[in-house]
Amino acid sequence: MGRISLEDLNRIREEARRRRELASNGKKAGITVHKGTCGIASGAEEVWRKLFELLKEKEEPEDAYRIMSTGCVGFCGMEPIITVDLPGGEPVRYRRVDPAKLGQILEKHVLGGEVQEDLVLDEETDPYFKGQKFVVLRNRGRIDPESIDDYIACDGYQGLYKALTRMEPEEIVEEILKSGIRGRGGAGFPTGMKWKFCMKAKGDTKFVLCNADEGDPGAYMDRSVLESDPHSVLEGMVIAAKAIGAGQGYIYCRAEYPIAVATLEKAIAAAREYGLLGDDIFGTGFSFNVDLYVGAGAFVCGEETALMASVEGRRGNPRPRPPFPANEGLWNKPTILNNVETLSNIPNILREGADWYHAIGHEKSRGTKVFALTGAVKNVGLVEVPMGTSLRDIVFNIGGGIPNKRKFKAVQMGGPSGGCLPEDQLDTPTDYEAITKAGAIMGSGGMIVMDDTTCMVDMARFFMEFCQEESCGKCTPCREGTKQILNILERITRGEGKPEDLDTLEELSRIIKDSALCGLGQTAPNPVLSTLRYFRHEYEAHINEKICPAHACVALVKFEVDTDKCTKCGLCYRACPVGAITWEKKQPAKIDKAVCVKCMSCIGACRFDAIS
């Protein structure tokens, strides 16, 4: 199919919508298996294969069903999830489906018409979905990411049509400015401002880059968008290109996201085929193309200047700014770089209007933000909330609180560059300024919840190890400074800390923040600074008393049973893999240190903090 017009777009939309209908197409039911990476990791492929086997067994022709695979629905803790749709009814989601449960659902619901209430994941009533607002994730689980028609059926490319045919670049930029959207990659720079600088920069050749090098441990919202709704990112890129006058774009996607890479490749090919990428889009004379660039595993390539160096084929090292990429970016040409989530918001803003977008959110942070809620929380998954929602709401209402009767200790936000916020900061709204003030950063949206079994010194050590390994090694403060911070933290967790270490840590951290070359270095000490701010007593306990209050630092655990706390339950006895624990019913456990290999299994098993 050649270049398409608005009539074609609307026709494709109507046809695709009709194709999705069940009754009029003679379909008995729609069955959707949600095969995002999280789904596949939980067994969605097995469920997918089993579905076809079962249909064959029951001699049900496949074409009597609308069978789809889509990206993630967002509730990772409940994967694999499937959706069953009967003609005339509302779609029903089922959680934690395995081949056996699939059999039950197929038999009873699909063929028998009886909803299997015990397996249902009810988005209307489940507290996980209450308080969420889906803008970026609006198509989650609804569309086949490999079908451009599906995206068009959900009003895809309408925003682009409006931008290309009815708006001047200045008007697009104005609309984005008015919406109040800020970069979702971490720094929160107003997207409209970035576009405006680049629009005004002189030059015939300009570039639009999409940062899909999501590398923060515990953050995966971009992966989910790319896997389930890739066209929203492409549409956002073409709109951005029109606004700044670019002819070429690149998506820099990390190689660790093979499904996202494959999905993007298909999406780009489909958009080219429809003429939504390429020459003379919608017959407006505007041309723009997108190519995919796959990273090579460096976290630092998420930094904009390093990313550009990498696309140019050079070592992915950042460079000093100015010049800023809006003036001199990729191949020294004016360039904008936006993150996946930011770009995915753009079509919605154009389609629904800046006022609509601006109405969502809080103070200077408008719209929604997707968080990857993980760690010690009951409901693990992607959470999209209007900005301003409090951390407490996210952790305790949407997230369902802390499992295993443990106590909340901290929430780590913003990945390795972020910080840890304690209980008394939980009423902080998710707003760029408020979170920064509290000592963390919004970052790309990683949100790791920690309970009282996490040692905050050890947590800081973990993130510092990550940062120093992922430092590009170019500037001294980041390369050498993070190494020295890690040395000190390692010493403290081994019980070899010295009282002056805390001052050295603070001084080093402050100077690295102040003098490192790029955002990675300037934020690398944040986990140390925020834990020193809120959990200084834990550092002091390690250094002065040589104890780890969370019993997590192996060198400081004595492996002794506190007979007052021990409830004589025997859980530690069962957990010990080397038989170092002796226990009899109604007797407290005893650890033979000569046999113990300090594997920490007993500490993990004990629910009463009786082993220290």
Partner: protein, 354 residues
């Protein structure tokens, strides 16, 4: 023509061309900002962070070498406590990062790290010093490399890539494992290196140095004599570094228009003939089957007398002169004048035409 801007550095107002770096403007106005990875012949990397300064309005400290003056009224502080604390920490971290053992280093006395430690009054880093565990590259007769002394300023990398465009030296690995590599992380001898020695000249510390120099004294004992390389007619300006009447190393003169500090393998490393026992140091006159030593006066008189006789007996066209590319342009010019003007022959040529 770029705009003239008024800026303030350390409380003094000065005029600056828009786009010049803070470092350039400061140096032109006599304000000292220490540097390490900066080199006037190379593109600015802004990587060592020694030259950081406080620019009012900027969130973090900025590298003076890579930050352009871009607005009127820019206020820069180059040595307040915030700046000095950061500079000291950076140098302290570098001192702990390797085997910076001055008394035992060939660069003692012309080492920029040593100068920085002295200037910033750092006696001993408070951090544990990285044990020297990187291999010593002694693979060739020209360059020795001890990466345990490397500060990763990248000047050798930029020199090899930007100035010589040889692409042999690169940063390898990442983060704490970053190191300078030649070829695919092999030694100099096995890499495609042509031994121009640009890296040796640019290294601010003792990580890359001349092998021949090793036994002949310390850098601070050197007397520098400016000269011209005698290997070809390009006329590269060289600096001979002399200790006790002996040339211990040769560097390219950084101010020379001809070569701006660069040299080739011959000019930089091919000076061992100078002090070689077999070198001819006076004219030899052939007598029968052997040579005898003669004074310059005697030798020149003999040549003049013989040339005069040939010209007289067989005419100037019987003479021909052939000069060497190892002479300077000026010497070749004089030779041509001598052949044409004095001897009266057009038979003069030069080996570079062969």
């Amino acid at each position: 023509m770029s705009k003239e801007l008024k800026i303030t550095i350390d409380g003094c107002e000065m005029t600056a061309q828009e786009g010049r770096t803070i470092l350039e403007v400061a140096r032109e106005n006599g304000v000292h900002i220490p540097t390490l990875c900066y080199h006037p012949r190379l593109r600015n990397a802004g990587s060592c962070r020694v030259c950081v300064v406080e620019v009012e309005g900027a969130r973090a400290l900025m590298p003076a070498c890579a930050t352009p003056v871009d607005r009127d009224g820019m206020v820069v502080n180059t040595r307040n406590e915030r700046v000095l604390a950061a500079r000291r920490m950076t140098v302290e971290l570098l001192l702990a990062s390797g085997n910076h053992d001055c008394p035992n280093c060939a660069s003692n006395g012309h080492c920029e790290l040593q100068d920085l430690a002295y200037e910033l009054e750092i006696e001993h880093p408070r951090f544990p010093i990285q044990p020297p565990d990187l291999p010593f590259d002694n693979s060739n007769p020209m360059i020795v490399r001890d990466l345990n002394k490397c500060v990763l300023c990248g000047r050798c990398v930029r020199g090899c890539q930007e100035v010589q465009v040889n692409q042999v030296i690169q940063f390898g690995f990442r983060g704490p494992h970053t190191k300078i590599v030649t070829g695919g992380d092999t030694d100099y001898a096995d890499s495609p290196c042509v031994f121009c020695g640009e890296c040796v000249q640019l290294c601010p510390v003792g990580a890359i140095s001349e092998k021949q120099r090793m036994p002949y004294g310390k850098a601070f004992e050197e007397k520098i004599v400016r000269s011209v390389c005698t290997y070809c007619g390009t006329g590269c300006v060289v600096d001979f570094h002399i200790i006790n009447g002996r040339i211990v190393r040769v560097t390219g003169n950084e101010d020379a228009e001809v070569n701006r500090g660069s040299l080739c393998v011959k000019g930089r490393f091919g000076y061992d003939f100078i002090h070689h026992p077999d070198r001819l140091t006076m004219p030899l006159i052939r007598e029968g089957d052997s040579f005898r030593e003669a004074s310059w006066d005697e030798a020149l008189s003999l040549v003049a007398e013989r040339l005069g006789r040939i010209k007289e007996e067989d005419g100037p066209e019987a003479l021909a002169g052939f000069s060497s590319a190892r002479c300077t342009n000026e010497e070749n010019y004089l030779f041509m004048k001598f052949m044409r003007g004095t001897l009266g022959t057009q038979n003069v040529d030069h080996c570079a035409r062969l």
